[in-house]
Amino acid sequence: MTAVAAESGAPAAPSLPSSPGPLVRARWAVSDTLTITRRNLLVWLRVPAFLVFTVVQPVMFVLLFRYVFGGAIPVPGEYVDFLIPGILVQTAAFATFGTAIALAQELKKGVIDRLRSMPMARSAVLAGRLVADTGRMLVTILIVTGVGYAVGFRFDNGVLPAILMIVLATVFGLAICCISAYTGLAIGDEESVQAFGLIWIFPITFLSSAFVPIPTMPGWLQAFANNQPVTYVIDTMRALARGGPVEASLWKSIAWLAGIFVVFLPLAVRAYRRAS
């Protein structure tokens, strides 16, 4: 190699304005977020293992519970109708493992250092991560819903509630994504992040109304399962899909999700700023 950048002169010289105004900065924040989103989605498409985990794993869960465990679990109505909202929430929560792991990897490899040393929008790395991962999550949710339909699940309550159910599952996933983003950036080590994810994501999804009716659990466990956000979200989704009283659990879900955003989004932003 001979000539190198500095002498290469100016055909593509980016003359960066010395002090961009607020409008320009806002435009950059959007375009930087889109660039990071695009990058993250490209990475997702390039790694077959990611696709397997996002698509195959939840489908296996649907089949497993529908045809293996489901027959042994007595519920009012069809088990498949009971199951699918629970599986969707579990799928969304598990998908956020990827968020935490990806951020921890980027931190370790120095990618985040590089991006933080560049004149790009500070919010873009986190925002682009959340947008891409939420998009990925929505794809998974739609696939699982489709598979659910194939094995007998039905929306009995009309189109709008069905759409609302999908939206609620996605917003729930985004909230969990914020927690995962925070843990990924704060812990910063891939293996530890993964282990820590198991410790909190497994209990909150399984110790809920996702797979079994809560009254079948021992009393002390019911106290937890009845009062945690995953149960509220799933109960709301079931009511939206099949009909029935929505309001009580919907408000509790909204309150919990808002609380998670208010606490963990700033924590994640702070962890990104301080990442080292």
């Binding site: 000539a3 950048a5 500095a6 593509a12 980016p14 375009s31 990071i36 490209l42 120095g110």
Partner: protein, 352 residues
Amino acid sequence: MVTQDGSGPAILVEGLVKSFGEVRALRGIDLSVPHGTVLGVLGPNGAGKTTAVRILTTLLRPDAGRALVEGHDVVREAAAVRRSIGLSGQSAAIQEELTGRENLEIIGRLYHLSWPHARSRAAELLKQFDLLDAADRAAKNFSGGMQRRLDLAASLVGQPQVLFLDEPTTGLDPRSRLGMWDIIRSLAAGGTTLLLTTQYLDEADELADEIVVIDRGLVIATGTAEELKGRVGGDVVEFTVPDRSRVADAVTAIGKVGEGEPNVDAETGVVGVGVGGRGSEALIEVVRGLDGAGVETRGLALRRPSLDDVFLALTGHAAEETEETGGRRGRASKKRASKNRASKKDAGRAAS
């Protein structure tokens, strides 16, 4: 306040202090790098090199002191600093799943180049860094040397006036290392101001106009390579002990010949000792001593001092003596080094 018109230095650092808990990574560093020059920051692991680079690139805030890059304060005018710098760290900060071209195009977009601009800049850099053939392969299939070249290319997308290279050749094989040196030389020739940290003394000797030696968070010497070598003030007798178990015997055997403690590299078995102006006389004494002790050696020679010898003379310990081997002298470097998060485990190895 230094103005931006080029009258002040490209980098100015005054009394920089940074602690991590009880560990004092920087204990008051001063630096000044004129435009278009290369400063080599030399020091062992845990000396504070990376901490200094992280402060200068706006990634860390100093506890005290100030630092200006191109006249901009790294804390109060961080955004302006980021527009004038490039950073290439110790590990290749690239997205391995994406191709070399995609990596550079994305960085270009994040520098707010238009798509066509980002594409042409990426193509230009791929060509200059000899990566055109591999440009459309995933970066994870690149060799270590190629990944580091891609990383360096990424740091140049925004055409920075000041480039920070934190241990640019750590972990590279000798051939890739020489290739990297060529690139760095041509960047310097093109007028980019460079701050380069290294623990390889020959690297600083090869590339830097001026060298700053850092140890335990303090600048302990400044000067050109020649000036620093002058500090040792004399020749060095050096030899290799092929049988590593006899290194200690060899050191004992020549104990009284030198003008200080011999510099020993336990891994390669190379022993060097400063002998002042008594060159040939000392050489004979060394041969007698080794012969008397029955230690076999290779490549016994009298040579001009290297920066290794300078480091020993300045600090009383060898530059390679990092957290891994430093324990026997009871140095407190372990704690310090563990704070430096990045992959340094393989660092001391290639220092031969």
